[in-house]
């Protein structure tokens, strides 16, 4: 079981790595948004650091929204999705592998770039761990939930806008709890409540999303 999961992750990462230009897109996106903010709004330290949690999280959310559309697209066009359904393994497991690969491509670079973003936006050093943890827990939720929208719209062609409409309401709680955790940490308040909510969201998404995704794909194939 674990072997086939790793096989799917490995294949998707290999395919992504062969298209290196696309691989850089999310990182580039984070870097551009965060460097433009101080230039466009105001370089004032206290103002920026107040804005920062929201900026970091809105960036993460948009990056996920843009990239998640492609998660099943290629597989759908080249017929690999059908082959997944003919395998003796549960489709939700194989699909979960694809989502993990998506997170490794979009979420993990974000974990790396967060300290730099924090510096550019004047987020104090002692808040960085909280920000980092919120990204660590929050971005997998974005990938899992986004993949449901992608699975539902993959058969429609040009489903980009539709994914936004479907998925955005489910992204909002992540945005609220994650950015409020970072804001609270800046004010020196406890953050365990917000992080616990995020963690609960992640567990819920881990359990339910793969099932929802495989059911949605089945509908899209019909």
């Amino acid at each position: 079981m674990l072997n086939v999961l790793l096989t799917v992750i490995h294949r998707d990462l290999l395919v992504a790595f062969r298209r290196r230009a696309e691989l850089m897109n999310p990182v580039l996106f984070y870097a551009i948004v965060v460097t433009l903010f101080p230039l466009g709004v105001s370089p004032d330290v206290s103002f920026l650091s107040k804005l920062a949690p929201g900026v970091v999280w809105v960036t993460a959310l948009l990056a996920a929204l843009i990239s998640v559309e492609r998660i099943f697209k290629q597989d759908f066009e080249d017929g690999s999705i059908e082959q997944l359904f003919l395998s003796p393994y549960p489709v939700s497991l194989l699909i979960f592998g694809k989502v993990v690969a998506h997170w490794i491509i979009t979420g993990v670079p974000m974990l790396g770039i967060v300290p730099i973003m924090a510096m550019l936006l004047h987020i104090p050093g002692q808040v960085l761990p909280v920000l980092w943890i919120s990204v660590l827990i929050g971005t997998p939720i974005l990938s899992l939930v986004g993949a449901i929208g992608a699975a539902l719209t993959v058969g429609l062609g040009g489903g980009g806008m539709l994914i936004g409409l479907l998925v955005l309401p489910l992204y909002i709680p992540v945005l609220i709890f994650a950015s409020s955790a970072v804001s609270a940490a800046m004010d020196g308040q406890a953050v365990s409540g917000q992080l616990a909510m995020l963690g609960a969201g992640l567990i819920l998404a881990l359990i339910l999303a793969p099932l929802a995704i495989s059911a949605s794909l089945k509908v899209s194939m019909d």
Partner: protein
């Protein structure tokens, strides 16, 4: 025994076929003929359980295939979209197929297979750089890799050269001799033992 009971298929506003009945036994081949757009691919997708007919049912051993997911694990399907990843090499593609089929990875077997389909020299070349016929060979190699009892093939001969078609027909014949079942759409004549072939034409 794979049986279709009064199948009806509608795509958009057009009815492709209705009241379609046939049955195929193990060791038999069902050759589906028909003009472009007559619903051959739609029929194959229904037989694989990917899409549902508007009316009717398909049964395997007298049980509806739509209620038994395990039926799918007996199928090898090669469609128009071949399921081959263009960004992977020939061996990487074969290796993924092998693992997805639930077999342990066996590199020597894969090399053997690459040699068999005539792609040994190109085994480490990205599939994107191969010709259409060579990509099709990679897709068809899956049939030999998975060794399943039902082969569902959508225009398998497209882009293949004469030499390989002869070889492939032999593989099909072997499959039938081993009491495998074959459903195939084609515009060209397939040389198969006549007593094993059933033909339907969609119009």
């Amino acid at each position: 025994m794979l049986k279709a009971h009064g199948l009806k298929c509608v795509r958009g506003d057009t009815e492709l076929f209705s009241n379609l009945e046939f049955s195929v036994k193990s060791g038999e081949a069902l050759v589906v003929k028909g003009d472009n757009g007559s619903g051959k691919t739609s029929l194959l997708r229904i037989l694989c359980g990917f899409s549902h007919p508007v009316e009717g049912d398909v049964t395997w051993c007298d049980e509806s295939i739509f209620r038994h997911d395990s039926f799918r694990q007996q199928i090898s399907y090669v469609g128009h979209q071949s399921g081959v990843k263009m960004d992977l090499t020939v061996l990487e593609n074969l290796s993924f197929m092998q693992r997805l089929a639930g077999e342990g990875s066996d590199a020597s077997k894969l090399k053997e297979l690459a040699r068999y389909v005539g792609l040994f020299k190109q085994r480490n070349v990205l599939t994107r750089k191969l010709s259409a016929g060579q990509v099709r060979r990679v897709a068809l190699a899956k049939l030999l890799l998975e060794q399943r009892s039902i082969w569902v093939l959508d225009e398998p001969l497209t882009a293949l050269d004469k030499e390989f078609i002869v070889k492939f027909e032999l593989d099909l014949k072997n499959h039938l001799d081993k009491l495998g079942l074959l459903v195939v759409t084609t515009h060209r004549e397939l040389k198969l033992p006549e007593f094993r072939v059933k033909q339907i034409t969609l119009s």
